[in-house]
């Protein structure tokens, strides 16, 4: 299983251990975990993630295959949650495995940059004053562009 679109929580470390268990003889593993943020300046009570599950699964698998091909990854795995998440909980995780660290890092960043703009999830922040859809960040569109120019 290389793409998991799930509602329950997951344990980032346990997921990484499981991923690495198949890594015998492969040199470099990279993980990125996104965690629900709640800051003093912008405290939230929960993050609601709406998802078009069937499309998310298809789209993330397509992004995953493209990363594996482009960076010659030995393996790549993506977990993305939807539903109602609490501050401090993991939202999503990408994990890559490659012979060398450059490819593992590039693969993980490529996956993140594409997920941000192409995976059908929509975040809504729940605060004491009500709830509000999160605006897309322009920086995410820019981050994605760099992979099209190289």
């Amino acid at each position: 299983m290389s793409v998991e679109v799930i509602t329950g929580s997951f344990d980032p470390g346990a997921a990484y251990s499981e991923f690495l268990a198949g890594a015998r003889g492969i040199g470099a593993g990279v993980v990125f975990t996104g965690v629900v943020r709640s800051t003093h300046e912008r405290p939230i009570t929960a993050l609601i993630l709406e998802c078009y599950v069937e499309l998310a699964t298809n789209e993330i698998e397509a992004i995953r295959r493209s990363a594996v091909d482009r960076f010659a990854l030995a393996e790549a795995h993506i977990i993305h949650r939807h539903g109602r998440l609490l501050p401090g909980e993991p939202i999503m995780q990408v994990m890559t495995l490659a012979e060398h660290r450059g490819a593992a890092f590039d693969g993980a960043q490529y996956l993140m940059d594409y997920l941000k703009t192409d995976a059908p999830f929509w975040k809504k922040e729940e605060t004491a004053d009500g709830s509000k859809w999160v605006e897309p960040v322009a920086a995410d569109a820019v981050a994605r562009l760099r992979w099209e120019q190289t």
Binding site: G34, Y52, W133
Partner: protein, 83 residues
């Protein structure tokens, strides 16, 4: 054919899908969205900045000029905020 709405678009329309039977001259995703907007003022207003939306046919993201031929579902996707 089903038309699927998500996130704030779903909330503004107050429904997550429509079951529609567009006429034969509605050939592409763009045609369908134009046709839907003509029939629904709320949708027309919500889709004003059309270029920010993406579209999916049968759970695959496609360009707006994609033909509908045989499609079971078309999704109208506001800008995504994954990750």
């Amino acid at each position: 054919m089903k038309v699927l709405y998500f996130a704030w678009l779903r909330e503004r329309l107050d429904r997550s899908e429509d079951e529609v039977a567009p006429p034969a001259e509605v050939e592409t995703v763009t045609d369908l969205v134009d046709w839907l907007a003509q029939r629904d003022e709320v949708l027309a207003a919500a889709l004003e900045k059309r270029s920010i939306f993406k579209f999916a046919v049968d759970a695959r993201i496609v360009p707006p000029q994609t033909p509908l031929a045989g499609a079971d579902s078309v999704a109208i996707l506001p800008p995504m905020t994954a990750g």
